[in-house]
Structure formats: structure tokens, C-alpha cells
């Protein structure tokens, strides 16, 4: 029963990693951009949530109504103002510019909010639980997992059922021809980043309710998201969901053996999958 419990809790933890990963997966799928600052943007989302809850007095989940569009706007502005300039055949500019952005965000947050760990207060939601067949499940982890499935489903639907999704797929397949067909790729890229950061906002707020956070934790969140994307296979959104769950389960199983092994066993699971299946479990695009 203990092991079953660890697996179930790991699956729910994986939901959070799926939310970290979804934005990465989306922008890589649309514009082949890997954003090193992604983890710091998640932390930015958490801090925006904190500011909204403390100044307006909203419940953290209600703060999503403000933080999600705000992060979307930041994403659009960031893409059009900065990141579009880095796109091209050369790999270095996007990598180094987002790396610089990561340093700026981290130290900017440090300057504004200090290094003290912060946490969002979600009241009774934090400790509420339900018992299912002998297992006690936290309501917050269940909610997080629900958000993760909904986000993946929503992105999948957007990609394959809407005009915007068609534009995403078109610029992903061939930017120049998409441009000839009357799509403005700079605008499309901006929208993709806006959508990615909207998802990041959800990830940030759920992270901030679940654990305490400080400006330095962005790098670790980026790595978790990245591992989920690679485990699941590049460009496959449902694969990313599976990847996040595998990572979460690996971590809770590792923690069960020895608490010091939690993060390490997640990384090791990632490396093992990389060794056996270099393209991830369910690849759709070649890296």
C-alpha cells in the first residue's frame, strides 16, 4: 500500500511538472525556441500571484484571473520586443539572450522581493484531503493534476481545432511558406509565447500555493519541465503529460527509498530514458 501510495502521490506531483513543461513544449513546437529563462518566468508568475493576493486580498486561485492575462501580455511583448530578433539558423543568440534574461529576472526579483522564501496562503485548500479506497489524496495536488490535464487538452484542442492552431502548425512546418500565405510569423510567435506564459502563470501560482519559493529556484523548475518534455518526446503534448507523471513518480519513489534521493532519482530516471530512448517515449518531431 505504501508503494501504491507513493506512485499515486508521484502522479499528482507530476501534474505540477506537466504545467512547468507545457509552455516549453509549446514554444519549441511552434518556433523551435528553447527558453532558458522559462523557470524564472514560472517564479515571476508566482511572485505576481503573491503581489495580487497580498495587495488585493484575493484567494490565490482567484488571482489567476489577473495573473494569467498579465503573463500573457508579458509573453507577447517579450517575444515581439526581444526574442523575435534572435530567431534564425544560428543557435547561439536565442540561447544566450534567454540566458541573460534569466539572470536579469532572477536578480530583478531578488531586488524587489528579497531572498526571503515566500508562500501564498490558500487557506483550507492547502490541507484539505479526500480518502479514496484507503489512500488519502490532497485536494490541492488533485486540483493541480486536473489543471495539468485540462491545459494539455486545451493546448491540443487549440492546435488541431482552431484557426490559431492552424497558424501555429503552419509556421512550425515552414515559416517562409506560412508567411507567403499571409500569416505574420512575428505576430504568431508573439501569440505562442503569450499562450506559453499564460500556462506558466498557472504553474507559478500552483507552485506558490504548494511550496515556498524564492528568486533562485527558477533553474530547478526549468530542468524539471525540460526533463518532462524530453521523456515524453519532443512536440507531443500528451507525451509531455506522460513525461511529467514519470518524473513525479520517479521522484516520490526515490524519496521513499531515502529522502535525500528525491530529486536525484528524477534526474537518473531522465538519464536512463535518454540512454534507452534518445527521442523520448512518444516523439513527434525530430530534435
Amino acid at each position: 500500500m505504501d508503494w501504491l501510495n507513493a506512485i499515486v502521490q508521484g502522479t499528482l506531483l507530476g501534474g505540477l511538472y506537466v504545467l512547468f513543461a507545457a509552455g516549453l513544449s509549446l514554444i519549441f513546437g511552434v518556433m523551435r525556441l528553447v527558453n532558458i529563462a522559462h523557470g524564472d518566468l514560472i517564479v515571476l508568475g508566482a511572485y505576481l500571484g503573491l503581489t495580487v493576493t497580498t495587495t488585493v486580498g484575493l484567494h490565490p486561485l482567484a488571482a489567476l484571473v489577473i495573473v494569467v492575462p498579465a503573463m500573457g501580455l508579458i509573453g507577447y511583448a517579450l517575444q515581439r520586443g526581444l526574442l523575435n530578433q534572435t530567431l534564425g539558423d544560428d543557435l547561439l543568440p536565442p540561447l544566450l539572450v534567454t540566458f541573460g534574461l534569466s539572470v536579469i529576472l532572477q536578480n530583478g526579483l531578488l531586488e524587489l522581493y528579497t531572498a526571503d522564501p515566500q508562500k501564498m496562503d490558500a487557506g483550507a485548500l492547502e490541507t484539505a484531503s479526500v480518502t479514496v479506497g484507503g489512500l488519502t489524496l490532497g485536494v490541492l495536488p488533485l486540483l493541480t493534476f486536473g489543471f495539468a490535464v485540462a491545459v494539455i487538452w486545451g493546448l491540443q484542442w487549440t492546435f488541431y481545432r482552431t484557426g490559431l492552431g492552424r497558424a501555429f502548425r503552419a509556421v512550425s512546418d515552414n515559416q517562409d511558406i506560412a508567411q507567403l500565405m499571409g500569416l505574420n510569423r512575428r505576430h504568431i510567435f508573439g501569440l505562442a509565447m503569450a499562450l506559453a506564459l499564460a500556462v506558466t502563470a498557472i504553474a507559478g501560482i500552483l507552485l506558490g500555493i504548494r511550496t515556498s519559493f524564492d528568486p533562485s529556484i527558477g533553474g530547478g523548475r526549468l530542468i524539471f519541465g525540460f526533463e518532462a518534455v524530453i521523456i515524453g518526446g519532443l512536440g507531443n503534448l500528451w507525451g509531455t503529460l506522460a513525461g511529467g507523471v514519470i518524473l513525479g513518480v520517479a521522484q516520490t519513489l526515490g524519496a521513499k527509498i531515502d529522502p535525500g534521493w528525491q530529486i536525484l532519482s528524477g534526474h537518473l530516471a531522465f538519464l536512463i530514458i535518454l540512454a534507452i530512448r534518445p527521442n523520448g517515449l512518444f516523439p513527434r518531431i525530430a530534435a
Partner: protein
């Protein structure tokens, strides 16, 4: 004018002048223990170690196209190997530094086989995962102090030299020697047949492969050599610091972010770039470091602006204007002086 009148040369006036000035500067620097104060020597020692790290990162990213954000894995590995071998193996620190390089090479081989499966930016984050695995792994070793780290025992420090002044001179010379060794190795490597292959890969991977260059092997060689030398530099860094902990040893800011800034600001893909970048970085640090986080924000901004406006860095700007090459790598054709003909 016939074809025979043209000459092909590698060297140039500027390169010869630079070589002479460089040799003079080196002599002055070797004599530093006799003219510089203790604080200056420490600062210069640190500068040389950063120069070595930057030159190595530049060789990987600028020439082999291996953009790593996980070189702290080998810096920390080298530091920990130094501590382990001197504390438990009873080795002399200098022997431990050499062995750190050897072990670094051995460890980097399976790592390379694994992460070379990732391309481009995913390779970059993959190297970061490796560094995290190293950090968490070393934090589990309780003999080395676990998560809180350990200090180098006095007896080992004294085995380097019994007098403090002598110890500081030795550690300064080691740092200077490491920088000269690394820059020299990179220069000679790039002039060799393998270096030519590497430059070809940098310019166009597909074309290089079609000319028969084994790209995977070339990159593998660079990764292993760079990792070994980075581990040796790491051992030197922590021989100076005398204290090691997982967070300091595997810090992404200290051993990768700063190094990337140095290379980007100086000029990626050139030997001169990291040298100029190191000087600029230390000048900025000495003047702005009191500002704390603002200083780091400025550094990030400078790197972004540099990457967007002048992707070849300061040295690229200089070279586009003056056609200079202080470390002659490329060949140039010299046309004969036009003769006055009727």
C-alpha cells in the same frame, strides 16, 4: 604578375608585435610576487583561472558548437577530487590536480555519449542536468561533508609550502601557468589538422561531413579534453579557496554564467575574445560589484545587447575594422606590390 608572385602566409606584422608584447607581459606577470601586493596577486590569480575557463568554454561553444551551461559539473568535480585525494589518498596537491584532470576525462566520456543524443539548446540543458546530478551526488557523500562541505586540513595546505608568502606565490604561478597552458593548447590545437576540421564544422556542419570529417568524433574529443582541463582548473580554484561545498562547487552562476558573459562580451569563436572579455569582466566587477544584484542585472543587459547588436563581441568589432589577428590561425594571400609599368 604571375601566380608565383603571390605568397601565402599565416603570420602578420600585428601578430609578431603581439607575440613580442605578449612575451614581455608574461615575464612581468611571472615576476608579480616581487612587485604586487597580496590582494592584487589573489585578484590576478582569480582572473587567470577565469581566463582559462572562458578559453575552454569558447573552444567548445565557439568552435565545436557545443553550447554547455553545465561546465560547473567539471569545476566542482575537480575540486572534490582534489579534496578527496589529498585528504583520504594522502596525495600531494599537485599530483591530485593532475589526477583530477585524468579522472575528469574518464568521467566525461560516458557523459558525452549520453548527452550527445541531445541537440542544440536541449544539449545545453542536458549538461545542466548532469551538473545537478554531480551536485546532488557529491552532497550525498558524508565523508566529504555532505551538503555542508568541508575544509582542506592545514597539513595539506602546508605541504604545498611551509611559508605563507611562498604558498601564495605558488598558487599565483599555478593559476598563471594554467591560463598560459590552456590558451596555448587551444591555439596549437586550432592550428593543427584537428583544429582545421573543427573550424570547418563551425562554419558548416553538412559541408564538413561531406568532406569526410567525423563530426561526432571531433566533438567528442573536444568535449573530453575540455572537461579534463576544466576539472584541473576546478581543482586549482578550490586549492585557492581551501573550502568546498556542493553549492559553491557546482554553482551555475559562478562557473558558467560569468564565463559565458566573458566569452560573449569578448567575442565568441576567437582566441582573443576570452582574453579581452576577462579583462572587461574584472574591470566591471571591481567597479560595480558593490551594487550587488544591480551589477548582475547590468551584466545580463550588456550580454543581451551585445548578442543582438554585436554578436561577434568586442574583438569582432575590432577585427571588422582593422583586420587584425593576434593569434594567427587563418592563412592570408599577400599580393605582390604592384610594379610601375609603362
Amino acid at each position: 604578375m604571375s601566380l608565383q608572385d603571390y605568397t601565402v602566409t599565416r603570420s602578420s606584422q600585428a601578430a609578431r608585435v603581439a607575440a613580442v608584447l605578449g612575451a614581455l607581459a608574461l615575464i612581468v606577470l611571472v615576476c608579480a610576487p616581487w612587485w604586487a601586493g597580496r590582494a592584487d596577486m589573489r585578484l590576478m590569480g582569480e582572473l587567470f583561472l577565469y581566463l582559462a575557463l572562458a578559453s575552454l568554454w569558447n573552444l567548445m561553444a565557439g568552435y565545436a558548437g557545443l553550447v554547455s551551461v553545465g561546465q560547473q559539473a567539471f569545476v566542482g568535480f575537480g575540486g572534490y577530487v582534489l579534496f578527496a585525494l589529498t585528504m583520504f589518498g594522502g596525495l600531494h596537491p599537485l599530483a591530485a590536480i593532475g589526477l583530477a584532470g585524468l579522472l575528469g576525462a574518464l568521467v566525461s566520456m560516458p557523459v558525452a555519449v549520453l548527452i550527445f543524443r541531445l541537440r542544440g539548446a536541449y544539449f545545453a540543458i542536458g549538461t545542466w542536468v548532469i551538473a545537478e546530478v554531480f551536485r546532488l551526488g557529491f552532497a550525498q557523500i558524508s565523508a566529504l561533508g555532505g551538503g555542508s562541505g568541508s575544509s582542506l586540513p592545514v597539513a595539506i595546505v602546508k605541504s604545498l609550502a611551509s611559508k605563507r608568502a611562498m604558498r601564495e606565490s605558488i598558487s599565483y604561478w599555478l593559476a598563471l601557468g594554467a591560463a598560459v597552458l590552456v590558451v596555448g593548447c587551444v591555439y596549437l590545437f586550432l592550428r593543427s589538422r584537428k583544429g582545421l576540421a573543427l573550424t570547418a564544422i563551425r562554419d558548416n556542419e553538412l559541408a564538413a561531413a561531406s568532406l569526410g570529417i567525423d563530426i561526432w568524433r571531433a566533438k567528442f574529443t573536444v568535449y573530453v579534453v575540455t572537461s579534463a582541463l576544466t576539472a584541473m582548473i576546478g581543482a586549482l580554484i578550490f586549492l585557492q579557496k581551501l573550502r568546498i561545498s556542493p553549492d559553491a562547487a557546482f554553482s551555475v552562476n559562478d562557473w558558467t554564467a560569468f564565463v559565458i558573459f566573458i566569452v560573449v562580451i569578448g567575442g565568441i569563436g576567437t582566441i582573443e575574445g576570452p582574453i579581452i572579455g576577462t579583462l572587461v569582466f574584472f574591470a566591471l566587477r571591481e567597479t560595480l560589484a558593490d551594487l550587488g544584484t544591480i551589477y548582475l542585472i547590468v551584466l545580463g543587459l550588456v550580454a543581451i545587447v551585445m548578442m543582438l547588436r554585436a554578436p561577434k563581441g568586442i574583438w569582432g568589432l575590432v577585427r571588422s575594422r582593422f583586420d587584425l589577428q593576434l593569434f594567427p590561425l587563418g592563412y592570408r594571400v599577400i599580393a605582390p606590390k604592384p610594379e610601375k609599368e609603362a
